[in-house]
Symmetry: C2
Subunit: 327 residues, 2 copies
């Protein structure tokens, strides 16, 4: 039993991922279970059970943990430890006092942060942004949001800084739930890829997407379009190209706004790898010429893969118990 261990929890719309790790970021055990969305109480109980399960797997008692970190989607209240949920994990009676509930169950100091901000901390401490002072972490999934590290610390503005998924890139674009027309999230998210794939099917285009979706436009997901593109399907490749051309606008916006040393692309869409990066480099070359540096040196995929969220929660816990970064 080692009181230096950290437990990280990443709450997602489909799964709750937990891990036990050392302060170095070395992962000892990790475990994920489906998110129970049947009720607020069930969601919380599912999170508590998953925490217990990863401790059981590691044969660690709560006394062996220095702290617990949680990355939660949507709005969190840092002082009270209240969680308000998000469009993916919709709470029926927000807020849920999640930090208090976890501390009550396990008796260890617990810290919660918005999941994208936690992912940013993880990438900064353990991943592609290690040792850098200014990074932007762009989570590309069903939605799009960014975390910003300025001078080594999270930048929040009044509270919503980094919501660049809702910055407009197409003046007359489709209306987002956020109230903005043609925001980056409407034009460049995983959901936008699915929407374009669905439209291609409805338009009767001859594409592998149709076969993968068994002819059902409703069954088209971003992942499925990416799979079709990976197999060389022209319609899917065109969709990735259009998506990347808007993502390039977002990348340019991020560099104009924050001038980070590095922009890290993460989230489900980042797992598309070169299927996303190749058209992105092409769009950046077309839309922005004459840079003194290569985009490949300033934009990188996450180094933490699908562990970025839970490692971010570990980094969050570490930061709260050890405010000083290791040299």
């Amino acid at each position: 039993v080692n009181a230096d261990l950290l437990l990280g929890v990443d709450i997602g719309g489909t799964k709750v991922a937990t891990m036990i790790a050392r302060p170095s970021g070395q992962i000892l055990n990790h475990l994920s279970t489906p998110t129970d969305l049947s009720s607020d109480a069930a969601t919380v109980e599912g999170i508590l059970l998953t925490i217990q399960a990863v401790m059981d797997a590691a044969q660690v008692s709560p006394h062996g943990l220095a702290a617990i970190g949680i990355g939660a989607p949507g709005r969190v209240h840092l002082e009270s430890g209240d969680w308000f949920g998000s469009t993916n994990v919709l709470l029926t009676s927000p807020p849920v006092p999640l930090v208090a509930l976890v501390e009550e169950r396990f008796g260890r100091p617990t810290f919660m942060e918005n999941d994208v901000k936690a992912g940013t901390l993880g990438e900064h401490r353990f991943g592609a942004g290690k040792g850098l002072q200014h990074i932007v972490y762009l989570s590309l999934g069903t939605g799009i949001a960014a975390g910003i590290i300025v001078d080594g610390k999270l930048y929040r503005g009044v509270g919503q800084a980094g919501e660049i998924g809702h910055a407009p890139v197409e003046r007359n674009g489709p209306l987002c739930n956020c109230g903005t027309h043609g925001c980056l999230e409407m034009m460049a998210s995983g959901a936008s890829i699915a929407r374009r794939g669905c439209a291609a099917l409805r338009a009767g285009q001859d594409t592998l997407i149709a076969r993968l979706a068994e002819g059902n436009p409703e069954a088209v997901t971003g992942k499925l379009v990416i799979e079709a593109a990976a197999q060389g399907d022209c319609v899917a490749l065109d969709i990735m190209e259009e998506t990347a051309s808007y993502l390039a606008m977002g990348v340019l916006m991020i560099f104009a706004a924050y001038d980070p040393q590095l922009l890290v692309l993460a989230g489900g869409l980042a797992q598309a790898g070169n299927i996303l990066l190749n058209p992105l480099w092409k769009a950046l070359a077309e839309q922005a010429t004459g840079r003194a540096w290569a985009w490949e040196d300033r934009v990188a995929l996450t180094a933490l893969g699908d562990k970025a969220g839970a490692l971010g929660a570990v980094a969050l816990a570490l930061q709260n118990i050890l405010p000083e970064e290791p040299a």
Copy 2:
């Protein structure tokens, strides 16, 4: 003679504005002279003469000055005090060691900053952003650039943070010198207004702009289009509406990226007042619905008018000799 006085210099493409002020921001004397662009040496000598002239007018010797601040367009090197010029004040042999030349002539501690960043400091210390911790200052002129105050201090990123004039807002827009297609500066600057006015004349539209420009498309300036709009000319009003619709995208981008307490609009275009603000409020209402707050509470015109630049240079000097802000 009072060693608490500050001298501020704002170098512009058309004029050099100087002032002598108290630490409170109270202006004692101000003076501006045309910028001499005939050679690098003439530009510098013109700046030195203008500094001397405002001291003469105030009957102050260099010994009466605590410090001199300079806001210079384009890139400046903070450590060396070198100035590299800009597209508006093009130096033939950059850099010019302006800080060293001013210190040599007047023997007082001198500090230089990019003019937009100096303006941001001025607005934060003396103007609309007084007492706030997070503001964005958007300079709308021939070009567009922003200064950002985070936690009460200028935010620079790697060095170019705030160059949001070169963030794209129109994917297939015209190509800017910066290398980007349809950047905010191409779509919403004073120069873009002039370009649209010029195009209206060439298209033979019946507009007051033609009469104000005496039929010469080359004579159309942003200021002239704004004047025509103020007189109710429909073509000019349409131009302001189109410009404001892109400016609204920039405003939305700034709030998404930085979430400031207040966005301050400054620069020549801000002097259009309601001719700019009315279509801006309209475009914001159309492009972004459902905000919990009113745009009028988060976006304001500069409180310092055409003195913003020189007062910013005063604020820069103050900040360097009195690092602590007055409570």
